[in-house]
């Protein structure tokens, strides 16, 4: 069966009062679950992904092909930056990891990614989320799962200190329009 894989919005990028909201191109994602105390799991998964799986909470590790994002002590999100590697890695993970002790799920269609950029981005996010952004998202290696009004989201900080602020928000596709409308409404106060 061939799946239609597409983004949610037709107008992919919107700018308002110095803040841009952009839906990123469709990216493949895998939800990976396993026990960090299982040496076989950690070494085989690391070998397939060519990257060490992060065990520190609220962090991500990235190479040129994919991001590995910590979701919980036994769960990670693999977000692919290079489409060509997705099917190879999915197959290799299925072949090399013990199916009784791990879970590998293609969740590409589950969520879309909105990137918000601009100088007031942190202030904009503070209007909607209860997270202490300055403490939890204090570097470009940090991620956080939280609640945006009533929507579960995963927020990833992209920028370094003194760079233009940039965050990626992973959100359920069905909630993405609502979330973008709220963000656009929140931009009204920021006069460029």
């Amino acid at each position: 069966m061939t799946l239609k894989r597409s983004t949610v919005f037709e107008d992919v990028k919107i700018e308002k009062n110095g803040i841009s909201i952009q839906e990123l191109p469709f990216v493949e994602k895998i939800n990976l679950r396993g026990d960090t105390k299982d040496r076989d799991f950690m070494s085989n998964a690391g070998a397939v992904l060519d990257i060490l799986i992060p065990t520190e909470p609220n962090t991500k590790i990235q190479n040129k092909d994919l991001q590995v994002i910590w979701l919980s002590p036994n769960e990670w999100l693999l977000s692919f930056l290079n489409e060509n590697h997705f099917f190879r890695i999915l197959e290799e993970l299925n072949n090399k990891l013990n199916p009784e002790k791990t879970s590998i799920t293609d969740i590409s269609e589950n969520k879309t990614v909105l990137r918000i950029e601009g100088n007031h981005t942190t202030e904009l996010l503070r209007k909607f989320i209860v997270l202490d952004i300055d403490n939890v998202l204090n570097s470009n290696l940090r991620v956080a799962q939280t609640i945006f009004i009533k929507i579960p989201v995963l927020i990833i900080r992209n920028h370094n200190y003194q760079e233009k602020q940039s965050f990626d928000i992973h959100v359920n596709r069905s909630h993405s329009k609502y979330l973008r409308d709220l963000l656009l409404d929140g931009c009204n106060q920021f006069i460029n």
Partner: protein
């Protein structure tokens, strides 16, 4: 609003969590041996303590992990947070004196107090 220190994610607002009720309730080893009243006690009856209570919480909008919280239900002070499977810490709580002299167990319902 409570600030809860998730053992995995760190301090987060209460809005991200959901409470799973009283902790450390042991499932009966042989349920068929119980009569209906004993089974109903296990399923439904909770202590509802006014004071130190051990509770289960879930970080439902974060890491989705369950953990235990020792909370003073009268003052909402969180006295300890510990992972599932760990033994509850021995704590002392300051049971507040209420003007109407309510019992420590039950929310003002004197019929539920245990002697």
């Amino acid at each position: 609003m409570l600030i809860i220190n998730c053992p995995y994610c760190g301090e987060r607002e209460q809005e991200e969590f959901s409470c799973g009720g009283e902790a450390h309730i042991e499932r009966p080893k042989n349920p068929p041996d119980l009569n209906d009243d004993q089974w109903a006690d296990y399923l439904f009856l909770r202590q509802n303590i006014k004071g130190l209570q051990y509770e289960r919480w879930n970080h439902s909008f974060g890491c989705r992990q369950w953990f235990n919280v020792a909370r003073n239900t009268a003052t909402d002070e969180i006295l300890a947070v510990y992972k599932m499977g760990e033994k509850p810490p021995a704590l002392e709580s300051n049971n507040p004196i209420t003007p109407c002299g309510e019992p420590a167990i039950g929310s003002g319902n004197f019929s539920t107090s245990k002697k």
